[in-house]
Symmetry: none
Subunit: 216 residues, 2 copies
DNA sequence: TACTTGACAAAACAAGTGTTCGGAAGCTAT
DNA sequence: ATAGCTTCCGAACACTTGTTTTGTCAAGTA
């Protein structure tokens, strides 16, 4: 069986379920799906729901009516006001970021992210880290802040990135600029001085796309 | 018929429904309610659900299975993971904060606040402002950030407050310290210098309890 | 070619689930 | 007490809904 990807029909069904729950607050029945998507038989729906369940996109509650639910995503997520990302660990100046691939996402604590910070539609591949220490203070990020990162290894000029400086053995959050023959890492705080370094001394580990700070 | 108030049994049923939806993401069936609440007949459940609907506490979707839903209360609010506060305007260095009393809260845009930033239980009297300009940069707050404030006119030492400096006609966000005969306003960024001023030149306008930053 | 597999179709089946109805018990006001 | 109302009971009923079975068909594969 093909894994990882949904067929067009499965994607339609998945989208229909999400919209149905969003609009009505309850799950659709198999016959709802069949009728509204013009599918010829309930067995086809059932078949594709099984595939979706194996893909982990939905959960079918055996035997009970309207028992489809979306795992990981609570009803709150469907409101389009928030999303969730895994909190994968801590970021400090002196160590590289953890590899998101190597962490059990399903066991990680989940952080709620308001749509005002990152729209739920753009939350794919995003994870959160708790900041320890004040080494990121020139990026306007304080001890205890939660930063939201999207994994990427390249960056556009001006983007705020998590950069691993190999020689210095340090992670830093700076705005990234590629200048002829060198990299400029510019603090977000304009009163601070930029770092200049060689391109092969820099590994981009992710892009900063949001910050949550609690002072309570 | 008695209106306005639920009987004990109706309150039990209502609570059961809310918890069921919260826990499972789908509505309970009448027989779920009957069984778990030890009610003798489904007709009793149905009867009391009708009463609850007339009281406006629930909505029954005619005929369809597991068709009970809770109006008004969005699924997101049931999750206790988020709260909402009104976005009352903009904060700049050069003008005092708007008076929350004078703003029509009900018409204000609502900002979703994750429980990780401010627990919903502590959200009373809190409002949000959008930051314009970089004058708050020594408080680690950038242009475009959303700050969460709780209205208060006094502060404990060390709290981050929005302070109105009367002579300078400026609002600033600093850590507040009362020292003998004067006020010290300390930037959050330790490389910056504090401001010293007379107590009667300072009006505390609120306490900063959270920051949301979107870099998307 | 023969075999397997994914995807679909049609229909029948079985279980889940809301509704209804006659009757009884308790309560309140006249 | 009588009437009227709310609440409850038990059971039967009918509709809703998930599941299963039996085939078909096309695409890949040894």
């Amino acid at each position: 069986m093909r894994r990882r990807e949904m067929s067009d029909r499965q994607a339609d069904i998945y989208e229909y379920i999400v919209n149905f729950i969003k609009a009505r607050g309850i799950s659709p029945s198999i016959r709802d799906i069949q009728h509204d998507l013009n599918i010829s038989s309930t067995s086809v729906v059932s078949y594709n729901l099984d595939v979706l369940e194996k893909l982990g996109k939905i959960v079918r509650n055996d035997k009970i009516s309207r028992g489809i639910s979306i795992p990981g995503l609570s009803p709150a997520l469907l409101s389009q006001e928030i999303g969730r990302v895994p909190l994968l660990g801590t970021i400090t100046a002196g160590s590289p970021l953890p590899d998101p691939e190597e962490i059990d996402h399903s066991r990680a604590e989940q952080i709620v992210v308001p749509a005002d910070v990152v729209p739920p539609t753009r939350l794919d591949g995003v994870y959160a880290l708790k900041v320890r220490g004040q080494s990121m203070i020139d990026a306007l990020i304080d001890d205890g802040d939660i930063v939201l990162l999207r994994r990427q290894e390249t960056a556009e000029n001006g983007q705020m990135v998590a950069a691993w400086l190999i020689d210095e053995n340090a992670v830093t959050l700076k705005k990234f600029y590629r200048e002829d023959g060198r990299i400029r890492l510019q603090p977000a705080n304009s009163t601070m001085q930029p770092i200049y370094t060689a391109p092969n001394n820099v590994r981009i580990q992710g892009r900063v796309i949001g910050v949550l700070r609690s002072l309570v």
